[in-house]
């Protein structure tokens, strides 16, 4: 197979997958190029879509690759979808941010930072699949510990947890 062909197969796989497709999954299916070459080809594709002025582009999210519509088109696509976009209250968002940076974290640790009870909020974040229960902490009382989910990465278009923006120092209020 030539490069062009491989690239079009990669595209078809990413396109056909229901969820972000990890590079290893692509390699399982087309085993010819080595990992490094494959990554290079995907990078080329991403570059092409970025410059091509199409309605969607190729993105790296949640440990895989996925086509997503471009933000410039959001106004129109929203009309098509009509679904309610994810609604998060300020309280839920703050809680989510704390969990993202402090995971694995217990409820009482979150409450110490926020200064308020977070019971209902945790429940709703679990229901929205943005966070998940990781297990129990090995301390007396064995409280549940929480972390963010793969869905969290998908929703906030993050490659992985290390691509979270760095927690900034507060310089001035």
């Amino acid at each position: 197979m030539d490069k062009k062909q491989i690239k079009s197969i990669i595209e078809s796989l990413i396109f056909a997958s229901d969820a972000p497709i990890p590079i290893n999954k692509i390699r399982e299916i087309i085993d010819s190029p080595d990992r490094k070459t494959l990554m290079g080809l995907i990078a080329e594709l991403m570059e092409e879509y970025q410059t091509m002025d199409r309605g969607f582009s190729l993105r790296e999210v949640a440990g895989g690759y996925q086509f997503r519509t471009k933000p410039e088109c959001s106004e129109w696509v929203r009309q098509l979808k009509k679904g309610i976009p994810l609604k998060l209250s300020q309280a839920a968002l703050e809680t989510l941010a704390i969990i993202a940076y402090k995971q694995p974290v217990t409820r009482s640790e979150i409450e110490y930072i926020r200064g308020v009870d977070v019971g209902g909020i945790l429940r709703s974040l679990v229901d929205k699949k943005l966070i998940r229960i990781l297990g129990k902490k090995e301390v007396p009382g064995r409280p549940l510990i929480y972390g963010t989910s793969k869905r969290f990465l998908e929703v906030f278009a993050l490659k992985d947890l290390s691509s979270l923006p760095t927690l900034q120092e507060v310089e001035e209020l």
Binding site: T69, Y101, V170
Partner: protein
């Protein structure tokens, strides 16, 4: 004359304090505690006047503020001064918490400025037919869903099925007899099997005590061939006893 009160909703006492510090344009590392405390309490009063529920956390913070204030007002005694040598500012803990909280507030805002799925960007449309028969992808089932399923099952249990059992507290002696009887039938028994089907903590304890007693009386021997392997209980000349 009617007047409008614009009451900002605060996420909690820390949020309110940050607001007051910003409003007064004071240095967070050198909070004028008396005046900030006064304004904080004023706000709580306003909430009371408006018949708003004041969450317990706001009251706890009020107490904390007043405690800090008193610590800063009272000149330490000679004795305390020595004690206080090298001790930190009474406000330090609060300042740390405020700064930590502010960092996460900023981060939360930053998260919202990301390209958010189904708000700014969308994935390829997938026909709804794909999820046939309410089947759930195993990779997507959370523990919570497992628990919800269990709760559903418990709830669905027809009420007629419940019956009461008079709880009869078993004695260690009863249990000893039961274990010996069991061994007469089957010879060796697996340790775990002593506990299967026991729903009640009392009986678990009784069973264990009975086993200890049997070992002490040298009626049984406990064998484990490999570490973490199956624990077996073997009778010692059971027939003679």
């Amino acid at each position: 004359m009617p007047y409008n009160v614009k009451l900002k909703v605060f996420e909690g006492p820390l949020d309110l304090l940050l607001h007051l510090i910003k409003k007064n344009e004071v240095d967070i590392y050198d909070i004028p505690i008396a005046s900030i405390t006064a304004q904080y309490l004023e706000y709580l009063d306003l909430m009371k006047t408006l018949n708003l529920d004041i969450a317990g956390e706001f009251l706890v913070m009020a107490a904390t503020l007043m405690h800090i204030k008193s610590k800063m007002l009272l000149p330490p005694s000679e004795y305390e001064r020595e004690e206080l040598e090298g001790e930190e500012d009474p406000r330090a803990e609060l300042v740390r918490r405020l700064i930590e909280y502010q960092r996460f507030k900023d981060t939360a805002d930053k998260l919202m400025s990301h390209e958010i799925l189904n708000r700014d960007v969308f994935t390829r449309g997938i026909a709804n037919g794909a999820s046939e028969e309410n089947q759930k992808d195993l990779n997507e089932i959370s523990i919570i869903e497992l628990i919800e399923a269990f709760k559903r099952v418990l709830k669905e249990e027809p009420p007629g099925k419940f019956f009461y059992i008079a709880i009869e507290k078993m004695s260690v002696n009863d249990k000893i007899t039961e274990i010996i009887e069991k061994m007469k039938h089957t010879g060796n028994i697996v340790f775990q099997s002593l506990f299967t089907g026991i729903g009640d903590k009392h009986e678990v304890i009784i069973t264990f005590l009975a086993l200890l007693e049997l070992i002490r009386l040298k009626v049984v021997r406990v064998i484990q061939a490999t570490p973490f392997g199956t624990i077996r209980i073997c009778p010692i000349n059971l027939m003679d006893s």
